[in-house]
Symmetry: C2
C-alpha cells in the first residue's frame, strides 16, 4: 500500500456509521451518511421485489443511481455526485451472473484469514462501498444482509478487490469479533486432512496461514505447561518457562540476522535467521499474551498515516 494512496482517506463528507470500531487505519472509502441512507431506503423498497434474472441489472442500477444521486444533490455536493457516478460506473463494470450475483469473500486484512464467503448483488456491493460493513445477498432469504447486523460482529471493510474476470470480489477488512455463527474466528474450521487422516487434535484447527499456525502451536505449548507433564519439555516450553533464556535468544537472533547483512552472507542465511528471530519473538508475544494480529494492526495503523516514517524522520 502506497502511503500517498492511504493519505487520501480523510475526504470531505466522511462519517463512518456507528457500531464496531476495530476497523480504523488502512485504506477506507469515504462514507456519506446521506448516500448510505438513500441506499438503505432503496433496500427497504426492494426487499420483496424479484431479483433480475437477466445478466444485466441495469434497470435497478439506474434506479438506484438516481435515488442515490438525488439524495446527494439535495446536499448540494458536486463531489458527492461525481463519487456516485464513479460508484455506478464501477457497479456497471462487474460481471454479474445470470442471477445478478458474484462470489464475495471476506478476508481479515491483518491475518489474511478467509472469514466467510457469500454472494453479493449490485445492491450488496453498493451498500458495502457506502457503509464499509461487509454486506451480502442471501440466496435463501432473497434479501440483503450485513454480517454483524444480529451478532454485532461486523466486518469493517477497508478495501474491496475485483478479480481479473470481474466476477469475484474480496471484502478486505477487520472483523469486530468472531465471524462464524458457531463462535469460531472463521467459518472454515473443517480440515479435510483431519477428516481423512484422523480426528481433530484441537478445536482451534482453522484454515490458518503459516504465521497463525505457528502462533497457535506456541499457545498450546503454553497451555500444556499448566497441565504439568513429566516428559522432557519442548524448546518452546523451555523458552516460556525461562524468561532470561527467551530474552537472550531474541537478542542473539537479532544479532545473527544483522550479521548476514554486515558480512554479506548468502540470502538464504538471512531468511533462516529472520525465521529464528520471528519464532523467538513470537514466543515472547505469547508469554505476554499478545497476538500477532495486534502487532500487525499497530503496523497497519502507523503505516496508514505513514507514522513509522514520519516519527522516525523527526529523530
Amino acid at each position: 500500500m502506497e502511503a500517498a494512496a492511504l493519505a487520501r482517506l480523510s475526504l470531505p463528507g466522511v462519517g463512518v456509521g456507528g457500531g464496531g470500531g476495530g476497523g480504523g487505519g488502512g485504506v477506507a472509502f469515504p462514507v456519506s451518511r446521506g448516500r448510505l441512507l438513500a441506499v438503505k431506503e432503496k433496500k427497504k423498497q426492494q426487499l420483496h421485489a424479484p431479483i433480475s434474472a437477466s445478466t444485466s441489472a441495469s434497470a435497478s442500477a439506474s434506479a438506484s443511481a438516481s435515488a442515490s444521486a438525488s439524495a446527494s444533490a439535495s446536499a448540494g455536493n458536486e463531489e458527492a455526485l461525481r463519487y456516485d457516478s464513479k460508484v455506478e460506473t464501477l457497479l456497471d463494470s462487474v460481471k454479474w451472473d445470470n442471477k445478478g450475483l458474484v462470489v464475495a469473500i471476506a478476508q481479515n486484512v491483518d491475518t489474511g484469514a478467509i472469514l466467510m464467503q457469500g454472494f453479493a448483488n449490485r445492491e450488496a456491493l453498493a451498500t458495502t462501498i457506502l457503509s464499509r460493513k461487509a454486506t451480502f445477498f442471501s440466496r435463501s432469504r432473497s434479501s440483503l444482509w450485513t454480517k454483524g447486523e444480529t451478532s454485532k460482529n461486523f466486518i469493517n471493510v477497508l478495501d474491496i478487490f475485483l478479480d481479473c474476470d470481474r466476477d469475484s470480489i474480496i471484502y478486505l477488512g477487520k472483523p469486530d469479533g468472531p465471524t462464524c455463527h458457531t463462535g469460531a474466528e472463521t467459518c472454515y474450521y473443517s480440515s479435510v486432512h483431519d477428516q481423512l487422516e484422523g480426528p481433530k487434535p484441537n478445536q482451534d484447527w482453522l484454515a490458518a496461514t503459516t504465521l497463525q499456525s505457528l502462533e497457535a502451536t506456541i499457545s498450546r505449548r503454553k497451555e500444556e505447561i499448566e497441565e504439568a507433564q513429566n516428559r522432557k519439555p519442548s524448546w518452546t516450553k523451555k523458552l516460556l518457562l525461562d524468561k532470561e533464556l527467551l530474552c537472550s535468544k531474541v537478542r542473539e537472533e537479532a544479532g545473527e540476522l544483522v550479521q548476514t547483512l554486515l558480512e554479506g552472507e548468502d540470502r538464504s542465511r538471512t531468511a533462516s535467521e529472520m525465521a529464528d528471530l520471528l519464532y523467538h519473538s513470537m514466543v515472547l508475544l505469547t508469554a505476554k499474551d499478545v497476538k500477532i494480529e495486534e502487532v500487525l494492526e499497530v503496523l497497519r495503523r502507523r503505516f496508514a498515516r505513514s507514522g513509522i516514517e514520519e516519527k522516525n524522520s523527526r529523530k
Copy 2:
C-alpha cells in the same frame, strides 16, 4: 497446526505426482498414484457427460467410488481402501448446489493471499485431494481443469478447508508461480478504492494483507533510491542507505521488545515494540532482496517436522 498432526504426513503409498515442487512442507495428503490414475481415467470418461442437475450427485459418486476402490483393491492395499472410503464419505458430506458445485478459493498458505476463485464439483475436489494440485470445474467449458496444466504454475495444496455450511472450500497451498493469466501473483488486483478515489499509484496494488503491503512499500522505497531524488529521504530510505544504522536499529528494537517482558511493561508496549522490530527487520530483508514469504516458508518447513523444537532441544 499441531506438530503431531503434521508428523502424520509420511504415510505409506505417498508419491507426489511430478511438476511443481514448491509445495513441500506443512500439512499434506497421502497421494496414491493408483488412485490418482483411477480418477484421471474416470475424468476422461466423464468429460462429455452431462453434469448432474440434482442436489445430490450420489450416482456419479458411487461410480467414482467403485472405480477408485477397484484400482486400490488391485493393489491389495487395505489401508488405501479405508482411505478411499473416507474420501467418499467426505465428498458425500459436501453440500453441492443444484449444479453439483461449490465455491473453491485458492489461498497462499504463507502469505495468506487469495490467489483465485473458481468452482469445484465432486470430481474436482476428489482430484485435488488425490493429486494435491488445485483443480476446478470450468462452468464455461463444462470440464475439469487443474490450475497450472497449461502455465505449469500449479497450486500445491497442503490442506483443504470446508466452511460451517459445507458449501464453500479453501484450497490452502503454495503456488509454483503467478496464479493470474495476466502474470499477476493473484487475480485480485483491481482495487475499488483506487477506482473511486483516483488512478492506481502502482501496478503492484494487490489484495495484500498488512505484512505484504508493508513489504511492498519498503520495496518501492528501495526502487526510489535508484531514481535519485532531491527531497528529504524517508526513514525507510535512510535505513536502506545506511547499513550500520539499519543494523543498530534492529538490535535496538530487539532489546526494547525484550525489556517489555523483563520489566513487566504493558502488553500494548510489547505489541508496539514488536511492530518496530518487525518493520526494521523487514527493511533488512528488503536490503538483502529476501521476501517475507521465503521466511514464512522456512518456518513452515521447520515447523512441519517440528524442526525448531527438535533442533533446539538438542542444544
